[in-house]
């Protein structure tokens, strides 16, 4: 213990936190402190510059979104006291803006489909393929292939399935103008059509994460369960699933965050309108468009931020807490 301190790996003045910038402590300890003044400056810059960029380009805009949501600023000129409207944007958003509740419900549908269907399928694939079965690698490759594709490409690939003259209509025999199903244009159908495409990619992602988790499970646990006469199903639900708790948290967080970020597919198909409204598309459509309703769009961003904080906080406390041990 004294050794590591002497080598300055955990500098003695650390409690103040700004240990990097403090001069070497005086007294007999001094000659052991290997971090020179220069080293401390270098370390300070190594952390300080990226922190500054992170604050300016991520956290600054986050804070600005919150502040702008209390104004009616339209993107031109300075923001003055006259622009401050208090909670009016929120009032309008929740009570009068007809796009908000559909968008929120689409985000929730997206979330529900990802959490209750796509992610469990990914986990199921992982469990089935994490065994010595013939062709396991081939199956894995097929399921994971969509993960490398851009959502823009995914959107176009699935358009070929859903188009009026596309595969699905042709296969169903709907080939005339009157009986084709407009999968992507019908506002009560298109969210589900898009969710199939989104899940196509999400399942592979979850499968990879879960496979990695399963590989890290101590094999003696399985052997012990087998000796005790547990069936495969029992082994998974009673033994493997509980020890996978940390990775399960990661899966939930990844799934929730992915559904809140949903944007690209909806935008490519119809710019996120007419049945495909999402909180994310409402933000850009209101604030960065001819409408220029910056303050109002920011209030939608704040709603998205507040929802996003739930998985983020879970991740930071559960996952980062674990790695910190």
């Amino acid at each position: 213990m004294p050794d590591t301190q002497a080598f300055g790996l955990t500098p003695a003045p650390a409690p103040t936190g700004a240990g990097v910038r403090l001069p070497p402590p005086p007294g007999p300890r001094r000659r052991y402190t290997v971090l020179t003044r220069r080293d401390r400056i270098v370390l300070g810059l190594m952390v300080g510059i990226p922190v500054a960029f992170d604050l300016i380009f991520i956290w600054g805009p986050t804070l600005a979104s919150i502040l702008l949501s209390f104004t009616n600023w339209q993107g031109i000129g300075a923001i003055t006291a006259n622009n401050i409207v208090g909670l009016k944007n929120y009032q309008f958003l929740f009570t009068q803006y007809t796009q908000f509740w559909p968008a929120l419900s689409h985000n929730l549908i997206w979330l529900a489909v990802f959490v209750f269907i796509a992610s469990p399928i990914g986990m199921l694939f992982a469990v089935l393929l994490d065994r010595e079965i013939r062709g396991s690698r081939i199956y894995q490759n097929i399921f994971y292939f969509p993960v490398v594709l851009s959502l823009a490409v995914v959107g176009f690939i699935w358009t070929l399935q859903y188009a009026p003259s596309g595969f699905i209509n042709s296969a169903l025999g709907f080939t005339t103008q009157t009986n084709t199903i407009d999968w992507l244009g019908n506002p009560s159908l298109n969210i589900w059509a898009v969710l199939v495409a989104a899940s196509w990619r999400h399942v592979g992602y979850i499968m990879i994460l879960y496979l990695a988790g399963l590989k890290s499970v101590d094999p003696t646990l399985r052997e012990a369960a087998a000796i005790d006469g547990a069936s495969e199903r029992q082994t998974f639900f009673r033994v493997i699933f509980p020890v996978m708790a940390p990775i399960n948290v990661v899966i939930v967080v990844v799934t929730v965050i992915e559904s809140l970020r949903a944007f690209d597919l909806a935008f490519i198909i119809n710019q996120g309108t007419n049945g495909l409204q999402l909180l994310s598309t409402l933000i850009t459509n209101n604030s960065i468009s001819e409408a220029n309703l910056v303050g109002f769009g920011s209030s939608i961003a704040v709603v998205l931020l507040v929802i996003s904080l739930v998985p983020i906080v879970i991740f930071l406390t559960r996952v980062m807490g674990r790695t910190d041990q």
């Binding site: 080598f7 500098p11 650390a14 936190g17 240990g19 080293d39 270098v42 370390l43 190594m46 952390v47 990226p50 992170d54 380009f57 991520i58 956290w59 600054g60 805009p61 986050t62 600005a64 979104s65 013939r134 062709g135 081939i138 490759n141 292939f145 490398v148 594709l149 823009a152 490409v153 176009f156 690939i157 070929l160 399935q161 188009a163 003259s165 042709s170 296969a171 992602y205 994460l209 990695a212 988790g213 890290s216 967080v253 965050i257 970020r261 944007f263 690209d264 935008f267 490519i268 604030s287 960065i288 910056v294 961003a301 998205l304 996003s308 991740f315 930071l316 980062m320 790695t323 910190d324």
Partner: protein, 302 residues
């Protein structure tokens, strides 16, 4: 096939063995069905891309082909000048990936050298920033990009907006959070004695980073580099909002614009979409291990 039945044990009675065999068959039937469902949209896109428009208009898309050719690929590539858009992407992706790896390894290293509450705070800050939906910050960011002056050689309109440097910057700032999280976990698994040895030898902090820690992180950096290249290549959102000049946009964002103007028919569009996917398909084929490692490094330790 006999090798796989060892789960039942050597002395398993015959009926049980048969039951296991039947379950295997069911399992494979299930997996094959799912695999066909998974691969079908891709095969369909490929098939469509090989057919001339005249053929599909006459016979419908669900029909046997009369001719198959790569003509749609040639048309799509030359009409829309796709080569140019690949270049746009590379102008953004290559520096962005290098900077992401450089900055995140430096920060993760520095944070691992000085442990304190403040460092944990910074780590949380970087990680949380990466988890935010980009749309939460996009509105103020857009106006910042219109307001921040950038000198001429780096920006041809004097702003961050509508510039490669602006897109590179936001990719780096956003992605660094994830890589710092992964790399600082990775560096924790390196033996501490290495740092100590370097210090005893009188190496400076920078020297320790460059000559001791960085080489040891090579596997993690390769994995993250592959993953980040794919992420940045695939990005649609940043360039869509932070760039207005269509001809400057990276290929993924440009695809949407080119749709109406150059990819006049569905078959050419299918070819174009698959061409846009080629670099990521190469990642899938050539760097699969690194890609998967990159994805999973963040969720499991080491």
């Amino acid at each position: 096939m006999t090798a796989v039945t060892n789960a039942g044990g050597k002395v398993a009675p015959a009926p049980r063995k048969r039951r296991i065999k039947r379950r295997r068959v069911v399992l494979h039937l299930f997996l094959i069905t799912m695999a066909l469902f998974w691969i079908f949209p891709l095969l369909w896109a490929f098939y469509t891309s090989l057919r001339p428009l005249a053929d599909t208009i006459k016979n419908g898309y669900l029909s046997w082909p009369t001719t198959l050719s790569f003509q749609n690929y040639i048309d799509g590539f030359t009409n829309a000048n796709l080569g140019y858009y690949y270049l746009n992407t590379m102008i953004v992706a290559v520096p962005a990936v290098i900077l992401v790896l450089l900055v995140s390894s430096v920060v993760a290293f520095a944070l691992s050298r000085v442990r304190s509450r403040i460092n944990l705070f910074f780590l949380l800050m970087f990680t949380a920033g990466n988890l935010l939906p980009p749309q939460v910050i996009i509105v103020p960011l857009y106006y910042m990009y219109l307001a921040i002056p950038i000198p001429h050689p780096l920006s041809d309109n004097g702003l961050l907006y509508d510039q490669y440097i602006g897109i590179i910057l936001i990719h780096v700032v956003f992605q660094v959070g994830f890589c710092i999280f992964v790399l600082s976990n990775y560096m924790r698994t390196l033996p501490r004695e290495l740092n100590e040895a370097a210090l005893v030898d009188g190496a400076s902090v920078f020297r320790t980073y460059r000559s001791v820690i960085l080489p040891l992180c090579a596997p993690a950096l390769a994995a993250l580099g592959t993953l980040e290249f794919t992420f940045i290549y695939n990005d649609f959102f940043w360039a869509l909002v932070l760039m207005v000049t269509g001809s400057k946009r990276p290929i993924t964002s440009a695809l949407n614009n080119l749709k109406g103007a150059y990819f006049t028919d569905t078959n050419v569009l299918a070819a174009a979409a698959l061409m846009v996917a080629i670099p990521t398909i190469l990642v899938f084929v050539l760097f699969q291990r690194q890609f998967i490692r990159g994805l999973t490094l963040g969720s499991t330790k080491g």
